[in-house]
Symmetry: C2
Amino acid sequence: MGPSRSAGFALETHPTEYRHWRLAIEPPLATLTLAVGEESPLVPGYKLKLNSYDLGVDIELADAVVRLRLEHPEVRAVIVTGGLDRVFCAGANIHMLATSTHGFKVNFCKYTNETRLAIEDACAHSGQHYIAACNGTTAGGGYELALACEEIYLVDDGNSAVSLPEVPLLGVLPGTGGLTRVVDKRKVRRDLADVFSTLAEGVKGKRAVEWRLVDGVFPRSRFQEAVRERALELAAGETQPRGPGIALDALAPEVTADAVRYRHVELKLNPGERTAELTIAGPPAGQPGAGADFWPLRAFRELDDALLRLRFHYDEIGVVILKTRGDLEAVRQIDIALYHGREDWLVNEILLLMARTLRRLDLTARSLFAVVDGGSCFAGSLLEVALAADRIYMLRDSAGEVRVASSALNAGLLPMTHGLSRLQVRFMAEPARMQEIAGESEPFDTSAAEEAGLVTAAVDEIDWEDELRVAIEERVSLSPDALTGMEANLRFAGAENLDSKVFGRLSAWQNWIFSRPNATGERGALTLYGKPERPQFNWRRT
Amino acid sequence: MGPSRSAGFALETHPTEYRHWRLAIEPPLATLTLAVGEESPLVPGYKLKLNSYDLGVDIELADAVVRLRLEHPEVRAVIVTGGLDRVFCAGANIHMLATSTHGFKVNFCKYTNETRLAIEDACAHSGQHYIAACNGTTAGGGYELALACEEIYLVDDGNSAVSLPEVPLLGVLPGTGGLTRVVDKRKVRRDLADVFSTLAEGVKGKRAVEWRLVDGVFPRSRFQEAVRERALELAAGETQPRGPGIALDALAPEVTADAVRYRHVELKLNPGERTAELTIAGPPAGQPGAGADFWPLRAFRELDDALLRLRFHYDEIGVVILKTRGDLEAVRQIDIALYHGREDWLVNEILLLMARTLRRLDLTARSLFAVVDGGSCFAGSLLEVALAADRIYMLRDSAGEVRVASSALNAGLLPMTHGLSRLQVRFMAEPARMQEIAGESEPFDTSAAEEAGLVTAAVDEIDWEDELRVAIEERVSLSPDALTGMEANLRFAGAENLDSKVFGRLSAWQNWIFSRPNATGERGALTLYGKPERPQFNWRRT
């Protein structure tokens, strides 16, 4: 097993290291200015012209969104704008896309989708309003970035347009939420959305407003000031006390050939078996107050980073064994503290970060088996880690010491992408079970957990190793594609909303298109973009 | 342009011509017995062993479901069972799948999905309860057929199991609703669904009941009687008067090289331009009472057949121009009669059939342009045809004679797959518009239609031909795959339910998997099924 083309790059960064974004803080406003370093692609092989982005650009954006929430809570509105002449953002870099593996493309889109959802999460739950100040060309992923903002303003200079040119120019979809957000979030009339999505040059000026593609246009002379006024207006509506912020230190994991080690999280790789063990240690004794070292914040940031490394650096790992180590009651105590303190801005932010990380887990296209054994501490928020798994194996020890526990956080405070809790999804047939289980103050031993429907298999000590080994061996022998599709369908029972449609409907179609010769074949539109040859299509419709 | 491998077969049939199903009527019960004619595949090249099915088998099932509703309304419960020894149904025929084109596989799955939804529609809205009597092996698509029924009973003989072996055996998904119905409809716990969907041998007996995979098991000795008793019980709960039934005559279109002509519907093909014109004529004068010749029933049955021919026989047609010809007011009068008579069982059935046909249109993967010109009659139910289109072009004639009109049927009586009306989806931003438009008794001339947001473009006479020509030429020049994905995303704004998840999430993933080498490559699992070689997978996860 070799690493993918993208192996090695870091998934964390810091504003002092940004090469593509400038983050300016002037409370209550902040400005995020995109000026992509053309010569600084994440991996060599392409230039990032015209404010086009690659994963490296989005890693910085994701970092900024997190830091704005935790380090700069006094910021109430964030202006996202372009720092190049007459360009807001030209979207994902096509040469990067055209030369990437299928798996990288899919994971790149997934990550950028998650970053956009984090922006919307900040607007909805952190009182930080994002405003896209489209001061020039806003194309493809650039417009998708704008769509993730709460409001979009476009410069009215007779030239600057918003556009989704993927279908006409590249033969692929605006797949980072674009199509879904146009009709579902901005509620653009579907036939106008159809015209818009096939119009390479896009829509500008008054028509962009009439079609609901943007919230307003201003001439260049007063664009900056008008957007700033609007941002101040939105900021003025946010009066809940927030702050002071905390400084997020670097995770800086120790990376070796077969492991990535953080303070509380360890990712151990068994490439020969195509498995990995992801172990989360519970809170050490003597927890500090809410701050960067507070266990839930640090541990879930580490978990998030580990999941991203897994996705981007270790793509042949098929099964991830989810483990925990520590004291069940200590996790519960942290949860209880978070629950009771949830009106506090920082506790709220920590809970939101935990929820986003768990959603990242739900959306990770690997088979997830949670293993509950001696010394594990699947309680409350860590029970959610197990509930995110495709299966939960629990040891039936003779001493009865292996246990799991719930907490108030299991009753909807850490929702999945489609808004339901993991217990709701698990017990679709028995809607009352979520509250029953979340309200249970006693831990569940293996028999009680089995009785409660919390485990897939309760396994006696004598069979434990064999049964686990066989289950894992069977799993890694199956088609990776079939498993990806199966898991994406079984994990999200219940009605779908805008967010989950982006992953469920839009991404699935995009993945299909990415694997079709009309896009990525030798004569496909994505392959030939920017070259003199015209794409050749197989015209059969499916 | 050549026809696909499947060209030529008829999409309609009659019980007297069934080769695979036996339909026995004993009111209030009916029994549908599957005894697939091994030597009667729809097209040559494979044998239909072990009650495995191809499109021909499902065409008969779809026919039976429609006839049970319209011809046999006195039937209140339908038992679906197997007619071979110890086999209920082994699912879709693998050799058929492995030798089909990608497009045929996709459309085959879509059609079987639609048939299963028609069964659920009958259970929900026609008081006809479907019960799956799984009297033997119930595998893959066989179990998916059972899942479409309201209740599932399995014979308890120590051998017969229900199973979804697609992932472990074929490297594809149970994509005809299987995964979705297991967790969303039957509310099987997601981890048990995960185990079940990777277990080639399936689950039988008591465990199948415990896991909610079936509603009950009975020993072989009293299986038939027990299911019959349950069917009679369900039938006894249905007391609304229904009947007498009507006889559905054959559509028997005239098929020539460049057209398919029905009594009210005409499909005209322009293969060189990759376009087709689908024209629906409004009701002729002197309509009979509700019966097989009643215009809405006959016309929508014809439209349904035309759509299926388009999907299966003319897969290189990229754009379908939707037209109508006739008297606006005559359509409205029919609609008004249907609306006021909707408590009558037959009128109800006609409305349900119209709704299913319109959903078939929404789900047809071709670009749909509605053209409203002189002599057209897009009123009410036919306005829904236009509203299903990706775009609506309306002629702005100097005489002001071109008009469209609404009717009470536009206010939710002909819902889309996800339960919303087409006006709701169109006016996501203005929820009050549906009732306003549906309640408008005056027709809309072109300016009024434009004002009301009912048309994409209102075009002056002088520009009409050019503008249409250019729009169509542009459309047919785009990547067919990108268009399929784009249309599937823009047509269904709003929250998704079980039905739409099957098409949106499950089918999209299945299509992706169908196009991946791990399934359909030379060494893919689907390709090699039944052969001595083992599949070889690329292990990278996406």
